[in-house]
Symmetry: C2
Subunit: 393 residues, 2 copies
């Protein structure tokens, strides 16, 4: 097994560069709040469990999560169905341990979040890509034997951004019930979308107890938080909690104590609201810049909200070559083709627009213009050939 793991190289650490993904904005108010809550927890004025806590996670925190998910995402669960994790990564890794034998067939969306593919691959699953269309994942598009599990991002397909319509959600759930398939719903970045405009989660529509709902606080607060949650059908709670306990016992008591107070005090809701507004403004800023400086070279459309945009390149461009050229000039972009398993798409760049200063973004867009523009000679400038009807969504 060591040999397989040698092939996996975790991303290295470096100072954030635009347009790296997943960098939250850390503002003074968050720092002040956390400082105050950490001091409270460490002085015994809140429920910090110094000793081993509840293996599923602190009950008060699980209650706060269940309430939040019910209100924001239409998740229907009791606190007893919530198990804390170190994030979506661990959630999926434990699900794979629990539900997949080596060689088990797993459907993933194509294109797909890279870490999900890595984790399922490490669990020796047989990964079958299913190309998404304008409604996201369509079970009718799946081929081959019926899977044991489907990994999906229905609220906002990663990285293409479409939401799965209600009718298709129901079809997916009916099919899962009839076929005995598990569904892993990764509700990635759903917290940044305006709640009233979103469809309820698959979990909230599920009557057959086939859905495992995964979420994380790391996107909303900061990546090194390492705190997330899984919401499980009753019958899977105990084995999932057992797998978590065997893997690493539990999440940090201090972090759980701070997070509990942060949610109970309303600071969490206020932070969410503040970040939603800030990320919305930042997105508008980036789109305006890209359109003004790269109008003929890149096509970008506003999305509901979140932390990234997918920008389209002319169809004859090689997005990996563009990303490599940009990397040389200090700008990090994720080429869409790096997320594609099988079904070709027009070339694109996934741009994380949060956690970078406006000045850094301006410089990055200038570099993009230099790299994409023929005057620099790095990449030839073709006529922008992307037409609406050829876009994948």
């Amino acid at each position: 097994r060591a040999e397989r793991l040698r092939a996996y190289v975790p991303p290295g650490r470096a100072a954030p560069r635009p347009f790296e993904l997943g960098h939250a904005e850390i503002d003074g108010r968050l720092m002040t709040n956390w400082k105050r809550l950490a001091a409270r927890a460490l002085s015994g004025r809140s429920r910090l469990a110094w000793s081993y806590g509840d293996p599923q996670g602190e009950p008060a925190l699980r209650r706060a999560i269940a309430d939040y998910l019910a209100a924001a995402r239409g998740v229907r669960c009791r606190a007893e169905q919530v198990v804390l994790t170190a994030g979506t990564q661990q959630g999926l890794s434990l699900v794979a341990q629990l539900l997949l034998d080596p060689g088990a067939v797993v459907w993933v969306e194509d294109p797909c979040y890279r870490s999900a593919v890595d984790i399922l691959g490490a669990a020796e699953a047989r990964i079958v890509p299913v190309a998404v269309d304008e409604g996201g994942l369509d079970v009718a598009a799946g081929r081959g034997p019926s899977p044991s599990l489907v990994y999906t991002t229905p609220s906002r397909q990663y990285p293409l951004g479409m939401a799965m319509p209600l009718a298709r959600r129901r079809i997916l759930l009916d099919w899962a019930e009839a076929s005995g398939v598990w569904i892993v719903e990764d509700d990635y970045e759903s917290e940044f979308q305006a709640p009233g405009r979103m469809l309820p989660s698959l979990q909230g529509l599920d009557r057959a107890l086939r859905v495992i709902y995964l979420g994380t606080f790391s996107k909303l607060l900061f990546p090194s938080l390492r705190l997330g949650y899984a919401v499980l059908p009753e019958d899977l709670v105990a084995p999932f909690a057992a797998a978590r306990h065997l893997a690493d016992r539990q999440s940090s008591g201090l972090v759980q104590a701070i997070m509990t107070s942060f949610m109970e005090s309303g600071d969490f809701a206020r932070h969410l609201k503040r970040m939603r507004a800030r990320y919305g403004e930042r997105q508008a800023f980036v789109i305006d810049l890209l359109r003004r400086h790269l109008g003929g070279l890149i096509e970008v459309r506003p999305v509901e909200s979140g932390m990234y945009l997918t920008a389209w390149l002319p169809s004859d461009r090689d997005d990996r070559a563009v990303a490599a050229a940009l990397a040389d000039s200090g700008v990090t972009v994720l080429p869409l083709s790096a997320l594609i398993l099988e079904t070709a798409r027009p070339p694109g760049l996934v741009l994380g627009y949060t956690g970078h200063s406006e000045a850094a973004i301006v410089r990055a867009v200038e570099r993009m213009a230099a790299v994409l523009d023929p005057a620099t000679g790095l990449i030839n400038r073709p006529k922008l050939a992307v037409r609406k009807d050829r876009m994948p969504v």
Copy 2:
């Protein structure tokens, strides 16, 4: 796989009862230090990585760990060989993932730390118990096919407490080199022993790069910390770090930042010294109480230091029945036979003497006297029949 995990029930949470194991003493100085360091980290005055950090762990923390282990445990490593974990539990779980195929033979000491057996069992290893003698694990006592891996606690055998002599350490290492066997050295509670009186770790004697050294900060600081480390032979560092990253990415950035400052400031060394002294006093207090109140019913000998004692019962007692009777009267003791895989030992009780108040300990010893004494009628009082030459160590 879910079925196998259903059989594993993580320990529930309850208020600490004497003599539960592994409860650190949380004193005012530790709380004050951590409050100060948390505030520093959260105000940006120390190296808190809000964003994803180094997947192996913060370099400054790994340097501090390497320095500490070199000085205290004779571990010979560079910071580059240290990978942070969420504790020994995760360390062993990742080692199993990395090095064991299902059905791989693993030798464990008999008796053995229960969690280690659980983790190796969950990895589908074929567990072969090897009875320890007065020198701990002896490879000559192993039977059957050569193992892939040996799990051992050479500094202080858990739970019997003996140290493996130097000559036997060399034999174990030579054999591991000749047979290509991996050794997992769990250096459980070694931090509480006076450094000058301890043998260097197996890792420090290993020339053949067969030893994986596991340690944790949770015993020394507090269990809900969830921070530990693995020291790996160069060749295993990358795949182990990859397995950690796939499992849950990394440890909490905030906890790493606090711990780094705690070690660099010398607070860690001072805390260690303070706890060593306090646990030594607490041990003497408990031994005195046990001898005075349970002189004819239990035999207990001082150990170098640490957080627990193993007390011996008369040979015709059933330690599980004693533990059950004590549980009914509010006292938690771990029966030695619960840690035995195969080779019978005289009955005993593992008593965690730290993290409980003196008053709670006095009450617990009174209850033990009531339960073990014939006057209560709960358990018959035989003559103490344990002789020195029949003790397992």
